[in-house]
Structures are given as C-alpha cells and as structure tokens.
C-alpha cells in the first residue's frame, strides 16, 4: 500500500504542476513511513517541501497556497500530531468554500496516518476519524486495499474540496497483485463496495478493520454464518444506498471500527441503518469498536482492537431473541 500511495502522489505531481507535497520530513527522508520517498528528488524541494515542525503552520500555509491556486498535499506525520492543526482545519479549511459562497474552494489533501496495531507508543495510534466526520465541509476517506490507496488518493488530490485522507498505518505493508504501471480504476469518493457477498448478516467497516472483517467472515462459515462485508471507503460522503441495500438483503448488521464506540462513526451508521431498514431488521444493529479509552500502550493494544473473536461473538448475538 505504501508504494501505491507514493505512486499516486508521483502521478498527480507529474500530471499537474500545481500539486505540491509538504510536511515534516517528507523531503530528504521521504517521510517517516517513506510514503513520499523520491518525490523531492524527482520534483525538487519546491514541490516536495520539508517544512518547519508546526502542524498549524503547515496546514495554514497550505491554505494560503491553495488560495493562490495550488493543490497542496499535506502530510500529518501521525494521527495525534495533527491536533495542533485542528483550528486551521475546522475554522478555515472546512469552511472557506462556504464563507466565500463558493468563490474560494480549497483543494487540499490532508494525509493522516491513523490507527493502531503497529506497536506504536502513545500519541501514535489514535483513531481520530470521529473528529473529522463531525466537521461539515470536510471529505473523509480511508482506503483498505492497495487499489484504493492509489485510486482514492488520486481522487482526493483531484477533488476541489479539502479531503482528510486517513491512511491505516498497519496496512502500509499490505501487499496485493497490483501493477503500478496499469492501476486498476476504482470507484471514486463516496462509493462503498461490497468486498464479500453474503446472506446472513452485513459487516459494515472501513480502513484497518476491513481485513479483520474479511477474516471473521471466513471463520464464520464454520458457524453457519454467510457474512457480507461492506467497505465504506468514504465516511463523508456516506454511501447510504450501498449499506442499506446490503442490510435489507441480509436483515442483520454489525458495524466494526477501531475508534471508540461512544460518538464514533458506528453510532451514526447504526442510527441510519435503523431508520432506513427498520422493517427489514431481524435484530438491533450492533457495534464492535475499540473501547472508550485513551489508546492503550503497545503491550495492551491487542485487547483493545476489535479482533476476529470479538466480531464473531457479536455476530452470534444477532440470533436475536426477545
């Protein structure tokens, strides 16, 4: 996935001279995860810029650059390091189109490596998506496959709106039979995909939890469950149609994500599925999420992250009896 992200930025920069990559360590080092590897060498330091270490300054400067017609791609090194930039994000990035009645849209892509499962110490593993999806004006996407890493990042850079591009850190090293010379065309932002067809219940998920859900769906076959798995890909806009169609087919739904459950995206999704599928549901919509705790230290994270067993236990509860 890391190479697909790099390739997406490289192709975008080659096609469009207004695309600029910026952030801490993105130049000479190629980023701490090497996602911007080689871009400074190929396009020069003016197009792939090592900035001072100040996230509000990085994003604030990107706003000014976008006001002048550039398409900045900003790297926030880790999820929790993006927080100093929240005022810029919420007060300016998300609202500039609205404040100016559409006269000044800001085509900024904000790449945020997020989530746990890599043994990172504290402040390196937050699932911060709930903050972003609660902010009108932001588009929020997260790839779970190598094809999507490329396709969604290209779509994000091409978008005339600001996009928070959440990169699941633990999938950086996931591999696929992906040929960068002929990237697969994937659906754009705002379309969810059924990753596994099934009949007895729908797992609704995204980002780092997709592989876990697919594994759980395989394991569930032994229990007699044929699980459908929907990958949201985009949290805002939310593809209600694909989700609703799936749940109406299966009659049961579980939302799975790493972020905490209270006020997490799963709460919104469960509410919407309930509103739209009430008469089709055989059981309440359930959620499997991270606990409502600060992200735990690495030695405890396996107890926090939604795993196959917890998903299967929850699926078993869908055999609802009053």
């Amino acid at each position: 996935m890391a190479q697909a992200l790099t390739r997406a930025m490289r192709d975008a920069m080659a096609e469009d001279p207004t695309v600029h990559v910026m952030g801490e360590d993105v130049g000479t080092l190629g980023g701490v995860f090497r996602i911007t590897d080689g871009l400074a060498k190929e396009f020069g330091e003016e197009r792939c810029t090592d900035t001072p270490l100040a996230e509000a300054g990085i994003l604030g400067a990107a706003v000014g650059m976008a006001m002048y017609g550039l398409r900045p791609v900003v790297e926030m090194q880790f999820d929790a390091f993006a927080y100093p930039a929240f005022e810029q994000l919420i007060s300016h990035v998300a609202k500039m189109r609205n404040r100016t009645r559409g006269a000044m849209p800001l085509p900024i892509t904000i790449r945020v490596p997020y989530g746990g499962g890599i043994g990172g110490v504290e402040h390196h593993c937050d699932s911060s998506e709930a903050y972003y999806v609660a902010t009108p004006g932001l588009t929020v996407v997260t790839p779970a496959t190598v094809e999507d890493a490329y396709g969604l990042l290209r779509a994000s850079i091409a978008s005339d709106d600001p996009v928070v591009f959440l990169e699941p850190k633990r999938l950086y090293w996931s591999k696929a039979d992906w040929r960068p010379e002929a990237p697969t065309v994937v659906p754009g932002i705002g379309k969810a995909l059924v990753r596994r067809a099934g009949t007895s219940a729908t797992l609704i998920t995204y980002g780092p939890s997709l592989p876990v859900c697919l594994e759980a769906a395989e394991a569930a076959r032994e229990e007699g469950w044929d699980l459908e798995v929907v990958d949201l890909r985009s949290l805002v806009p939310f593809d209600e149609q694909t989700v609703v169609e799936s749940v109406r087919r299966t009659g049961r739904a579980v939302v799975v994500h790493e972020a905490g459950g209270f006020g997490g995206p799963g709460a919104e999704i469960a509410a919407r599925v309930t509103e739209r599928c009430f008469h089709h549901l055989e059981a309440p919509v359930l959620r499997v999420t991270g606990f409502d705790i600060p992200y735990p230290p690495p030695m405890l994270e396996k107890h926090h992250l939604p795993g196959v067993d917890r998903i299967l236990d929850t699926v078993a509860r869908l055999q609802w009896e009053n």
């Binding site: 509000a56 604030g60 300016h92 500039m96 009108p136 709106d161």
Partner: protein, 378 residues
C-alpha cells in the same frame, strides 16, 4: 556557582569534543529602535510628498467618518456588531495604500476599514458584521482574504499565499494584519517562523492598540516591544507610531519593498490606541480610565496630519472642507446601502458546503424547502 563550576561541566569529562558550532549571522539589523519611528512634527516631515499626503488626509477623514457611520448603524440595528478603528485609521489606511493591485491583504475582523480603503465597497466589507453572509465579496477579485475572526489564523495563510506566488514567479506581496492580543497565539509564531525560513514576501503588521478586549499589553507579553519578537525568527522588527500616517507609510513601504525584492518578511509593530470600546457590546470604562483616553486624544491621527499639512500650507480650510464633504457623500452612500434590507436565500445554507451536494445535504435541503413552502401557504 557558575555553570562552568558545576560538577561534570568541565571539558575534561567529555570523551570527545563536540563539533564546532557557528551561529547564523545576518548583516541586516533585526532589533527595533527603542522608540516608535515618527515623521510628523519632526525634521523628517520636510520630505513629505504633498500629493501623497493630501491623498492620505482625505482617506483619514473618510476613514473617521466611516467609523462613525458604522457605529451609528449598530445603534440602528443595521449591523449586528462593529469593532471600531477610531484612533487606528492611520494603520488601516496606510496598510491598504502601500499595496500594489496584485498584492494581497489579510485582514482581521477589525480591519474592514483597510478593506474599504483598498477599494472594496463598504457594504460588501460589512456583510460579515451585518450578518447576511460570512464574506460579502470574492477574495480573488479584490485580493483581500476573508476577514478572519479567529485570532492570527490568517497569518499562515498570508505566508502560504506569498510563498505560492513566489514559486510561480509572480510579483506579489502579502500584508497580514493582527492585533496585540493576536501576537500571543500559536499561529502568529508559526507564521513568522515559516515566513522567515521560506523568506516569503510577507509583511506582518501588528496594530498594538493597547488592549485585547480588556487585557492590557503588560498582561499579554513580557517582551520590551512586540517588534522585538521578530528577532527570534530572524527577520527585522520595526516599531512605529501607528497614529503618524507618514511614518506608517515609510515603514510599510520599506517593508513591502524588502519583501518584493526577495529580502523576506518584516514584522511591524504600530503603537496606536483604540479610542472606543472593543465592540459596541463592550464596556471600556471597566478596564481603563478617562485620563488615558484623553491623553491619546491629543495624539489623534487625523489631527496630527491636519496640523502638519496646514502648517506647511499643503492643505487649507477650503481643502479640509472639500474633504469633509466628500466623506459625507461616502457616509450617505453607506447609510443608503445598509438601509436596504439584505435579501437572504435560506437554500444558500446548503449551496456552498461541498462542490457536489451530498445525499445527506440534499435531504436536509428538501426538508427546509418543504418547511418554507408550508410557511408560504400558511
């Protein structure tokens, strides 16, 4: 005990010597002068350009009249709120007039007068404060960024825009305005640092008007002056009398010239005073005394210039009268423009959130449309 005397501090305890360190040196003087720079009432006034000063005088009088009219409009309920710049007109006007057409102005919420002096229609400049929309003009058309209400957050935008313009080879300078309170915000520091590292063509203008709402400068900073803050970032800091429009013109022109010629950013502290309350919602008598306000009245920016120009025969009573009449025409037009009820379209709520409407917003727009239709029928 000195550091050298502390146990373990001696070089003999090191296994190896640290590599040589050399500080960055710069020939440009960074430290501001100890006193604010002044022109009016000094020998420097001998070199005033009469034509330019007549223009500045007319703009100052119009600016003062604009402030009075806007304040009156709050009393009539035509403006939700107005942060006055009475006493600060010299800063506002000089900031607008030193810029070329292609340059950009980044105002704070208090700086509508600067936007108007740059040529923006006053009604458009006041849209935010009237409440019919957030920004009443196309920023690109006027090269005036939206008025920023969060403090200092527009400063990094100015840096990014100036940097982008330079990358494209365009001759553009960005001038960003902030108050004394805003210099305490993180974005102020990040913007100055970015600008200096990138040598971006930016001018930072701090209007030190004495108070951040009610908090005086002494509780805002321990620095000798706000201009001193420039030093740590590696850019020149300039201290100037913000009520002396000739001094403002010189210092701003020099900073704009430096930025335009690739010399990088400058931080300017204009020492001025907010004669009125923070806004019409504020009670200034709770935090400052009449004596202080009276002392500043004697140093009024309009009077200062009027006295100097009259003494030098650059303007006379007839010219002053003509300028005042011109300001009345502007005020009448502003009154008329603001007295027309703004037309607001409720469906605009959903029109400019995303480039493409989301399903969610389409549903909510339909809900509001139905509510409006029901109201119409009732």
């Amino acid at each position: 005990m000195t550091v050298q005397e502390l146990p373990g501090a001696g070089a003999s305890h090191r296994s190896t010597q640290p590599p040589a360190w050399s500080p960055r040196t710069d020939a440009a003087p960074l430290l501001p002068d100890p006193e604010p720079y002044r022109v009016l009432g000094t020998e420097a006034a001998d070199r005033l350009d009469p034509e330019l000063m007549r223009r500045y005088y007319a703009e100052l009088v119009r600016g003062r009249r604009y402030n009075a009219q806007a304040t009156a409009l709050t009393k009539q309920g035509r403006l939700a709120v107005y942060p006055s710049t009475v006493g600060q007109e010299a800063c506002e006007i000089a900031a607008a007039l030193v810029l070329e057409d292609q340059d950009w102005l980044f105002p704070s919420y208090r700086d509508t007068l600067a936007a108007v002096a740059r040529g923006l229609d006053p009604v458009q400049a006041l849209t935010l404060l009237r409440g019919d929309w957030h920004t009443g003009y196309d920023p690109r058309e006027h090269r005036i960024a939206p008025l920023s209400t969060p403090l200092a957050t527009q400063l990094p935008h100015a840096v990014g825009l100036a940097h982008a313009a330079r990358l494209r080879g365009d001759d553009v300078v960005a001038l960003a305005m902030v108050g004394d309170g805003g210099t305490s915000e993180g974005d102020f520091h990040e913007a100055l640092n970015f600008a200096a590292v990138w040598q971006a063509p930016v001018v930072f203008l701090v209007q030190n008007n004495g108070f951040a709402i009610s908090v005086p400068l002494a509780k805002q900073t321990a620095a000798p002056t706000l201009a001193h803050k420039a030093v740590g970032y590696g850019m020149p800091g300039r201290l100037v009398d913000g009520n002396d429009i000739a001094a403002m013109h010189e210092v701003l022109t020099e900073a704009v010239r430096r930025a335009r010629s690739g010399g990088g950013p400058t931080l300017i502290e204009a020492v001025t005073y907010r004669m009125e309350a923070h806004t019409n919602a504020d009670d200034a008598t709770r935090y400052r005394g009449d004596a202080e306000v009276e002392a500043w009245k004697a140093h009024d920016p309009v009077d200062l210039l009027e006295r100097e120009l009259t003494a030098r025969g650059i303007i006379d009573e007839a010219a002053i009268q003509a300028v005042r009449e011109d300001a009345e025409v502007m005020a009448a037009a502003l009154r008329e423009g603001m007295n027309a009820d703004p037309v607001v379209d409720p469906m605009d709520l959903f029109a400019h959130v995303y480039a493409e409407q989301t399903d969610r917003l389409r549903e909510q727009a339909a809900m509001l449309r139905a509510e409006l239709e029901a109201e119409d029928q009732a």
